[in-house]
Amino acid sequence: MVQIILRVSRLYILQLFAFLAIWLSSYYPGMEVFLSILYFLLMALEARSAQRLKKREILIIILLWQGPAAILSLMLLSGMNGGFWSLNAPFLLEFWATPLMACFSCFKGLILAGKPLYYYCIISIPVLLGIYYYLLSIPCSLKQKNLIRWPF
């Protein structure tokens, strides 16, 4: 339990300060992309250090870490209208997704079904980050066991 709380706290610190640093670095155009890459590297290190935990514990960590963002995403998807949280949900999710936005800003705006591609990423950010953390926290031995090998 202590391990879970410690790891979730670390992920929140990383996420919140990555948002602040990447947003501030956008004052110097281009720097935010490097910091965004750094964020994904540090997140990978965090996930790798959780390899000794059980799958159930990893899922609890992801749920506690991305839970608030997932609730905001569900509010947007359900089309809830009115109230502080539903009106500001897209802004809060965009701040949460700032590291990913920095990468997206490098590409030409792509529009799908009337909405820009980055908006779909904002909504799915809890799932995307959750999958990223989960895949990297799977022990290497397990990954090797499931590897498809060449027949020769």
């Binding site: 610190i13 956008s26 965009e94 030409k108 909405k115 980055y118 908006y119």
Partner: protein
């Protein structure tokens, strides 16, 4: 966990907080003029936030009856609801012609919409930029090139990859050599266009008038 790896894990955790402090100090050191500008957006926002006004305010049912007939491509539209934290107006758009306007929203990015929703604002103002028509058309072209790009509410003035509704048209005119808001500031609020000496007011309506 070995001692060395525990030490390393704390270093990796401190990277972003350290970068945040360094970047904040660097921006503050380079922008003393912004802090001495009492009309800067951050001061307006803080002052209004202290009075309980936060964000872009909520839609009211007042609306307006303004006529858009005098608009030409390149003209600026401002709209606002009562209690907006960053000034009288909360939103801005640039007229493209044929009843269309380019603007920015978080869920649509930089987008092209029809004019009619500007009749929903309780405060509205139409501005004509004092520039030759060909310059205004080039500004329109610049905005159109950014369609679908990211809307980020806290986008700083520098850079051309993160936009908000005011920054896009400020930059579009800046690229043509017209700086509509030369005051030292980190961001551009729609009110800055209203106060700009480089625009004429075509028409306005609202409780503030």
């Amino acid at each position: 966990m070995p001692k060395k790896s525990r030490y390393q894990s704390w270093i990796s955790l401190l990277i972003f907080p350290s970068l945040t402090i360094i970047l904040a100090l660097s921006i503050v050191a380079q922008n003393q003029a912004v802090f001495s500008n009492s009309d800067a957006v951050m001061y307006t926002y803080l002052k209004n936030a202290c009075q309980g006004q936060a964000g872009y305010a909520y839609m009211s049912n007042c609306g307006n009856n303004i006529s858009f007939t005098e608009l030409e491509p390149g003209d600026i539209l401002l709209g606002g609801y009562p209690d907006c934290a960053y000034g009288r107006f909360s939103h801005a758009g640039i007229y493209l012609g044929k009843g269309q306007v380019a603007e920015g929203y978080v869920d649509l990015g930089i987008t092209i919409q029809t004019l009619d929703h500007y009749n929903n604002y309780s405060d509205i103002c139409l501005l004509k930029v004092k520039a030759p028509q060909d310059v205004k058309l080039k500004a329109v072209d610049y905005v159109l090139e950014q369609e679908g790009k990211i809307f980020y509410p806290l986008a700083f003035k520098p850079g051309d990859r993160w936009w908000n509704c005011s920054k896009i048209m400020w930059k579009a005119y800046c690229e043509q050599g017209i700086n509509l808001t030369p005051e030292a500031d980190f961001w551009i609020a729609p009110d800055a266009f209203y106060q700009s000496p480089l625009v004429d007011i075509i028409a306005e309506e609202g409780w503030f008038k």
